[in-house]
Amino acid sequence: MSAGSQPALSMRGSLFRKNFITALLLAPAALWLVVFLVLPFVAIAIFSVGERAPEGGYQAALTFAQYANLPARATAFWNTMVLAPAGALACLLVAYPVAYYLALRAPDRWRLILLALIVIPFWTSLLMRTYAWMYILGGRGIPALLAYVGIEDLRLINTPGAVLLGIVYGYLPLMILPIYVSLERLDRRLLEASADLGATPLSTFLGVTLRLSLPGVMTGFSLVMILLLGEYLIPTLLGGGKVFFIGNALVDLFLQSRNWPFGSAIAITLVLVSVVVLTVANRISTRLSGARRVDLI
């Protein structure tokens, strides 16, 4: 009896030690998340049921008036819900051929250099790169060059096209890399088998390559879309502030009209909407790629 209980006790002891070590290892991350994610979120939630003080800012209250007022930013929500998927789709259309070339066609000795070339611009802040585009698209940039060949007074900056260009440029690497990873793991024998069985290149691409790279596509799509849901810099700088996204509405509410409670209510709503959108996207991608789970990178 006593002999039998001995190993059980020590096993419980080692189990306890294991759990303790796991808890210790997780503690920094957990602490970080609590202090910088959970607590601010709670603060925002409390703000969102408050009132705007007469001089701006926050005043304690318990009201859902801020949430009732959400339709006042319906246009901004709508613009964002159109921009985010559209921008991600544009990114995808540009990124897929690049990732395909890198993973399946590029010579081995070039691959690393090409990948580095895609990643390096990311080392500079997005603000800087977007400012650079302001000058490239501005009157002294491309339009000045076009004026030499007789195309006068062309305006590129502050157009929807400029915003789209900025978005595709800014977020392209985030789309290329996950697709590249999923294409690189592609088993080439599947392509040969498909060809042996009489499939045309197009149907091989659609039925094998594209299908197997879908997890990467959905990862890239979700990543870009999440970031675009909060985007405000590119529309402001390349769109001339004429297109109003929910990110712009938030900036204005916190820094201009200083309506913190309303801004908080919008922030909370944006988080909830993002969660719903991503859950749906995840479901779709799981189904499309044949019950395989999608992991974020």
Partner: protein, 387 residues
């Protein structure tokens, strides 16, 4: 974005070695060495951030070696801060802002770190009400002379007889026009808005600022710049929504667009108008004959200023007419101080952009505190921007 004006001015290697040798010879103190080479600032910043040297360690009269000011873009002569540093050993970090609301939001949140800042007239009563700014200790500002100031511009810095802010400069809000692109002469806000929808289609800019954008739209119908009346604001909104699709941009950063020739017309503050006209003569600055805005920027000291002695010292330094005159020559905004005007060259005083004719100034209105904080106007602006 905090950025020191000194970022581009590091000490040269020669100078550094020179100073190092002087330190070794003992002809300068360690403190001077640290100050002259910029190492002092770095050490002080590190020490403070790491908690090695608490700020309280400075004696009451010690100015420390670092302070921070919040101000507007292109608003100071960088040499002013360079000279101040040479005189006092205090390095000035310059924070540039885009709007009074942003400044207010930062100060309201606390811990801004500024020892001096530059609020516009209509915010001062709000700052006072919120208890964010100091009643100025005029004994420490010997260079300020209330008698030499134009009372029209100083009035809003004084509340119930107490001085909370002293004026930096004044100015107007009109519009800038590229007269080569838009040749028809203009003199009113009505023409500004009508042109934006016709010859200036796709080339006009309005501020990303409800006070001026809504205020100048109200002027189209001849209403007060500060109107809070529902029916008048509704008319202004109607105009703004009609103009919106024709605009080049809704942005207060209009100099790049005007300089590049992408924008042909923009709402514009005095000093920007003067700078644009100076560099590109065909850009004219127009005050709407219906009126519009006149403003004064003030200096004020936050109650939670981390380095008040240095804040007062810099403010007093800037109130010296000989220093102020250089500031005005650099930023191009007119001065409120008769002593400074006496030192300004004639061509500045005769510049109609800086010192407009009296009959153009007469209909102008100071923005009101209520205009700035009115939630209705904020919502109107949001509807305009999202349209």
């Amino acid at each position: 974005m905090p950025k020191s004006y000194r970022d581009g001015l590091p000490i040269t290697p020669d100078k550094f070695v020179d100073q190092l040798m002087r330190l070794k010879r003992g002809s300068i103190s360690r403190r001077d060495f640290l100050g002259l080479t910029g190492l002092g600032v770095a050490t002080a910043v590190m020490a403070r951030e790491l908690g090695i040297m608490p700020t309280q360690a400075f004696a009451a009269e010690n100015l420390g070696d670092r302070m921070s000011i919040a101000t507007w873009p292109n608003y100071h002569d960088p040499q002013t801060f360079e000279n101040f540093k040479a005189d006092t050993g205090v390095a000035v970090e310059v924070n540039v802002f885009g709007s009074n609301e942003e400044m207010l939001a930062k100060l309201q949140a606390g811990g801004s770190g500024w020892s001096l800042f530059v609020p516009t007239n209509y915010t001062i009563s709000t700052y006072k009400k919120l208890g964010i700014i100091e009643a100025l200790d005029m004994a420490k500002l010997g260079n300020f002379d209330g008698k030499s100031e134009d009372s029209r511009f100083t009035a809003e810095g004084t509340i119930d007889g107490t001085i909370y802010a002293v004026p930096k400069n004044w100015g107007t809000t009109g519009f800038a026009v590229n007269t080569k692109k838009l040749t028809k002469p203009m003199s009113s806000w009505k023409e500004f808005w009508d042109t934006a929808m016709a010859e200036g289609d796709g080339r006009a800019m309005v501020h990303d600022y409800q006070l001026t954008t809504i205020g100048n739209a109200l002027k189209y119908h001849g209403y007060s710049f500060n109107s809070l009346k529902q029916d008048e604001l509704a008319k202004a909104e109607e105009l703004l929504l009609k103009v919106k699709p024709h605009l080049f941009a809704v942005s207060s950063d209009y100099q790049p667009g005007m300089r590049a020739g992408d924008a042909w017309m923009t709402m514009c503050w005095t000093n920007d108008g003067a700078q644009l006209h100076r560099d590109i003569p065909e850009i004219a600055y127009v005050l709407g004959k219906e009126g519009g805005e006149i403003w004064t920027d003030f200096y004020a000291i936050p109650k939670d200023a981390p380095n008040k002695p240095a804040g007062y010292a810099l403010l007093n330094y800037l109130m010296n007419p000989k220093v102020a005159v250089k500031e005005h020559l650099a930023n191009g905004a007119p001065s409120t101080d008769a002593r400074v005007n006496a030192l300004l060259p004639k061509e500045v005083l005769d510049n109609p952009i800086l010192y407009p004719a009296a009959d153009l100034l007469k209909p102008l209105e100071f923005g009101a505190a209520a205009t700035l904080t009115d939630p209705g106007r904020a919502e109107l602006m949001a509807r305009f921007k999202s349209a």
